[in-house]
């Protein structure tokens, strides 16, 4: 009997989108409120896992054509590169800097290099979680 998961798939299409939005919200508010790269990354990969549950691995791989192992590398590069950027200014490793910018639409915003570091964490967490889940899922 062919099973029918129309309800699951329809709900997933809506909910996965909302989870990703929420995870981005948590990620960007990490400096002033609870949240940050780790929990944001876990929630984003939670959304992808929901897609994996509703569809199968091949479909999800064609929706999101990312090699998660490469994503780990990119994330690490972000995190370490932010720290190493301080080498060029001859200040100790991992020294961060911030300033206020007047951005179009957003108005005055403070941008901090710690966000770049956090982006690295975010990408590594997604990469590691999805690599673990995919390799276990694919192996027979």
């Amino acid at each position: 009997m062919k099973k029918n998961d129309v309800i699951l798939q329809t709900v997933t299409n809506v909910v996965a989108f909302m989870i990703i939005l929420f995870s981005l919200q948590v990620f960007f508010s990490g400096h002033y409120h609870p949240g940050g790269g780790f929990i944001g990354g876990l929630m984003t990969s939670g959304a992808i896992v929901l897609l994996l549950l509703a569809y199968d691995i091949k479909t999800v791989a064609s929706i999101i054509p990312i090699d998660y192992k490469i994503l780990i590398g990119i994330g690490l590069f972000f995190a370490v590169g932010t720290g190493a950027g301080s080498l060029f200014f001859n200040v100790p490793f991992l020294t961060h800097a911030f300033n206020h910018f007047d951005l179009p639409l957003l108005g005055e915003t403070s941008l901090h290099t710690a966000v770049l570091f956090d982006t690295g964490v975010y990408l590594v967490v997604i990469g590691v979680t999805m690599t673990i889940i995919q390799t276990i899922g694919e192996s027979e």
Binding site: G73, L76, A84, S86, N90, P92, F93, L94, T95
Partner: protein, 493 residues
């Protein structure tokens, strides 16, 4: 440049990240990792020179002042160890080109290798007790991967044991740091030392000292806690084994050395006596194993345990002389163990087995290998012009001066048994009637013997030039006998 002392950590870190993208291209990986290790070594030597000229180097990460942020501290001891570790890593890397096999190389071998070096160099350099834990974990997780990579049956079985033991000891490490933090309220090592001397090491601090001894003893394999080591180190292939045998246990020994000279020096009658007794028992346990086995790998593995015992005995005596001896012996042992494991790897490749009873007459076809192994054996045992001599001499002298006759005598005796155990390999494996199958199977060992010979050349230089090396080592042991130098350099009072 103020970031000099972090270069031996971030150069391998960047390389490891870079290598993640290159797993398919084996030749590129080899070149990239060799070049980056050469860079690591040169930065380590520049750091060594700077510390020798200008004293202890510190770096407050993120520009936060000393007790509040993470501080990296490079005194002479850590600079020496970082340099030694990087040189050994280069030799093991070149050795693995010919021996590790393409299957492993395509599965992130070189990336994980670099991560292992990140962990080791970081653990030697950090000045923060929790950061030490983090670097321990970086090192251990890389070692889990290196132990299991390849996926043979013995590797799977032994890595389960190894991971189990290390997970438990890491949990204990966290608990111990939590205790220490609840008592002194700081994680910066220099600050901890100040606060412990302010409260004159009450009973709870002594308990924490013993807990640290258990934690680092599990990592560094001292007497009742060495049970995991012989089996686990038997499993991986030679270059990985050489990295483990030369560097991993020594990080544990370094941590004992650091904590027992910087934190817990107020009540040596209790803590250091226990350390001394355990050290002597470690030597004896190692000797029993080294003599008992007829397996070339096992013999050298038990020699690690003997060396750990000798070094910790030097720490437990706590005089300037014995600590200098310990540092001397620590560096000698790192180099020699790496060289011996590489040589043993070549022997097992040629003979196809590590059972000593099935190997004989290698010297007829491989004379260079034979004599290199012979000199390495003498050096390991500490025959005078070679490298093991000065360290052991100082440890024994320090032991006798502090009236610890039993311990010093055991250290002296251990040389004899070490010599017996390695010469047993030489006599049975290299002399005797050549095996028939050796005649036509000439294994290509040139690329493999070169790094081992290079390490041995360093060891010979280290022994012959000990007068020159001594000025560096005594600068290292100055900090160990007088923690105020370390504290002043970090807290800048």
């Amino acid at each position: 440049m103020i970031n000099l002392l972090i270069l031996p950590i971030i150069i391998p870190l960047f390389t490891a990240i870079f290598l993640i993208f290159l797993t398919k291209y084996v030749m590129v990986q080899r070149w990239v990792s060799t070049i980056s290790l050469l860079g690591t070594i040169s930065s380590a030597f520049i750091l060594l020179h700077t510390v020798h000229q200008d004293g202890i180097q510190t770096l407050n990460l993120g520009s936060w002042p000393a007790p509040f942020g993470i501080t990296l501290v490079s005194d002479m001891l850590s600079a020496l160890l970082v340099t030694t570790a990087s040189v050994i890593a280069l030799c093991c890397l070149i050795y693995s080109f010919k021996s590790i096999g393409e299957g492993r190389e395509r599965y992130y071998y070189y990336a994980v290798f670099q991560f292992l070096l990140v962990g080791i160099n970081g653990a030697f350099t950090t000045g923060d007790i929790f950061n030490l834990f983090v670097f321990f974990e970086v090192m251990l997780m890389s070692s889990y991967v290196l132990l299991v990579i390849g996926g043979t049956k013995i590797q799977l079985r032994e890595s389960i044991k190894y991971i189990l033991v290390n997970v438990i000891s890491s949990a204990l490490f966290v608990i111990t740091v939590a205790y220490l933090y609840s008592v002194v309220g700081s994680l910066n090592m220099a600050d901890i030392s100040v606060r412990i001397s302010q409260i004159h090491q009450p009973g709870i601090i002594t308990v924490i000292a013993i807990l640290f001894l258990i934690v680092f003893g599990l990592k560094g394999a001292i007497f009742p806690l060495y049970f995991w080591l012989p089996g686990s180190y038997y499993a991986p292939p030679a270059p990985i084994l050489a990295m483990f045998g030369a560097l991993l246990t020594k990080v544990g020994v370094y941590s004992i050395l650091r904590t027992y000279t910087l934190f817990f020096y107020h009540d040596p009658g209790y803590t250091h006596q226990i350390l001394g007794v355990l050290a002597v028992l470690t030597i004896i346990a190692g000797i029993i194993g080294a003599i008992a086995f007829w397996d070339v790998k096992k013999i050298i593995i038990y020699n690690i345990i003997i060396a750990v015992g000798v070094i910790t005995f030097g720490i437990s005596v706590m005089t300037k002389e014995s600590l200098t001896g310990s540092v001397f012996y620590l560096i000698h042992d790192m180099i020699m163990k790496a060289a011996l494991f590489l040589l043993v790897g070549i022997i097992t490749t040629i003979a196809g087995t590590s059972n000593l009873r099935k190997i004989s007459g290698l010297i007829k076809f491989y004379p260079a290998l034979g004599w290199i192994f012979f000199i390495a054996s003498l050096s390991l045992a500490g025959i005078p012009p070679l490298s093991g001599f000065v360290g052991k001499l100082l440890i024994v002298k320090g032991g006798f001066e502090e009236h610890q006759y039993v311990g010093a005598a055991v250290v002296l005796m251990s040389s004899l048994f070490v010599l017996y155990s390695v010469i047993k390999i030489f006599l049975n494996g290299f002399w005797g009637k050549p095996l028939d199958e050796l005649k036509d199977s000439r294994a290509p060992i040139k690329m493999m013997i070169a790094p081992a010979a290079f390490l041995l050349a360093i060891a010979i230089f280290y022994g012959l030039g000990s007068e020159y090396v001594y000025s560096y080592i005594s600068q290292a042991s100055d900090v160990l006998t007088n923690p105020a130098i370390y504290i002043d350099a970090v807290l800048k009072e």
